[in-house]
Amino acid sequence: MSISKLGRPLIALAVLALLIALPLLAEAMGQPALTSMVARILIYGIAAASLNIVLGYGGMVSFGHAAFFGIGGYVVGILYAHHASGDPLLGFIPGTNQLLITLPAAILVSGLAALVIGALSLRTSGVQFIMITLAFAQMLFFLFVSLKAYGGDDGLIIRRANEVPWLNMRDKQTVYYVCLAVTTVFFILLWRFVNSRFANVLNGLRQSEKRMAAIGLPAYRYKLAAFVISGMGAGCAGALMANFLRFASPDMLHWTKSGELMVMVILGGVGTLFGPLAGAAVYIALESILASWTEYWQLGVGMILLFVVLYTHGGVQALAQRLVGRQT
């Protein structure tokens, strides 16, 4: 049986309570590294859930979402670099290390990038769309590699995490709680979003664009809006990641990162609210377990992914539900 309507908010609240208590529990268990791992899960959860807006709800297979993730990271990194050096970006934009400025800036810039890339890519659909989003992400990858002023290949070190008034961001736990707070707000907004009129349209477009045109919907602008929102979410995650790692590098935009985000979405269940978060958790856990066994951990990831795609329909959530369903 699927989880009842009343049960879901309760489970969400229970998970939230657990996440709030996590740093203390991790300390008590003598596993402080667990907190950082969960922080990464939360951040990737935001990125994957953002990708899921276009991928799962809208049916647009974007293979270039690492671009927006990376742009978010670089916005934080570049603003920090100018803050540290004192000379303004392009001669007139002062640098900053205030999260309350850098985070919205990252969301805005990645949204603009998504607007441009989406406006071009959405002129096509299907397999071309996949190839084009991948290609544009690769283009931005090369762009950041060539920006020697911002570290080029080596990436950009952010000496200190962005500051938030009244909080001590040098404390790793505080950074974790900031990530958790952003994640919570993000998923509340997303929960409202998936029940909105806009999401209705998106849902319809995934199932049949022809039908939606026949009832009078001009598809392009809605798909583009979804793409921009999705890019903004990924940018937000990237900005958090840059703060968490205190590092932004071209690796954040690498095409394998786009692939990983897609894998998280499918592991968790395409087109579900919390699926991508669960998928991120499974992926990160899998990665750390396999990596502790062998340096060739990607082999394991590849095989599991292949199995999930070929033999399960709907990711681990559906798999778990089916297994539970079989037993009862």
Binding site: N195, A199, N203, Q207, S208, M212, A214, I215, G216
Partner: protein, 252 residues
């Protein structure tokens, strides 16, 4: 004399060397059902697709209420009051029956750029969807997923969804295809009751239904309108008998 609500002049469409629509002229008057008949492959569905804006014609002009709509994409034509149903039903398969209607209501109302308010509890959408379903006798199926509907129910739902856009002219692509006798009779009744509000262009193979419903009939063969007139005129037309009604048994 009424001005036509839909006026087609010299419409041409070819695919490579094949002519699918050959200088078609067609008028649909308000309050009327205009049937379009013709053997398989005559280009009826292609014509509908051009009228709906899904396919761009190579030449000619289409006017809705006296204003040309040639430049408008499909979605914009719906906003002007032109709706269609599909021969092979084209619904949102994973959505409930109610949501299929509600989404059409929502798009008609506009306001689809709303991101945070819960649309499923929006009485303006639910209420109208349920009223429309009740009128079509589908109220009991509102919560069913479309993929679980019978063929006949889907055909009915196609019509309900199209009507939810509040069209003034409706293009019906074989609404009776695959229906049983009782279901067909029901559909005929529904369409007849509708026609005072909505003009219709009806593509249909079921001749019995066509002769019961149509105020005017046009006959399409190889993309050309070879005859146009009342049901009686068409029945008597020698060219039509030769080209079409002669092998009508096969087509039905």
């Amino acid at each position: 004399m009424n001005a036509p609500i839909l006026a087609v002049r010299g419409l041409v469409k070819h695919f490579g060397g094949l002519i699918a629509t050959d200088s078609v002229d067609l008028d649909v008057l308000p309050g009327q059902i205009h049937a379009l008949i013709g053997p398989n492959g005559a280009g009826k569905t292609t014509l509908i697709a051009q009228l709906a804006g899904e396919l761009r014609p190579n030449g000619g002009s289409i006017a809705l209420d006296g204003r040309t709509i040639d430049a408008l994409p499909a979605a914009a034509r719906v906003a002007r009051g032109l709706a269609r149903t599909f021969q092979i039903t084209c619904l949102l398969p994973d959505c409930s029956v109610r949501d299929n209607v509600a989404i059409a209501v929502q798009i008609r109302q506009g306001h689809s750029f709303r991101f945070l308010r819960n649309a499923h509890r929006d009485e303006g959408l639910r209420g109208e969807a349920e009223t429309r379903l009740a009128a079509a006798g589908l109220a009991g199926r509102a919560d069913e997923i479309v993929a679980n509907l019978s063929h006949g129910e889907r055909k009915q739902l196609e019509l309900v969804v199209a009507l939810a856009t509040r069209p003034r002219i409706l293009l019906l692509d074989e609404p009776m295809a695959g229906l049983g006798h009782a279901e067909s009779q029901q559909m005929i009744k529904t369409l007849r009751a509708l026609k005072k509000d909505v003009a219709m262009l009806l593509v249909e193979h079921d001749m019995e239904a066509v002769f019961q419903l149509a105020d005017r009939i046009s006959v399409l063969v190889y993309g050309r309108v070879i005859a146009s007139g009342t049901a009686d005129e068409i029945r008597r037309d020698p060219e039509v008998r030769k080209a079409y009604l002669g092998d009508g048994d096969e087509a039905c």
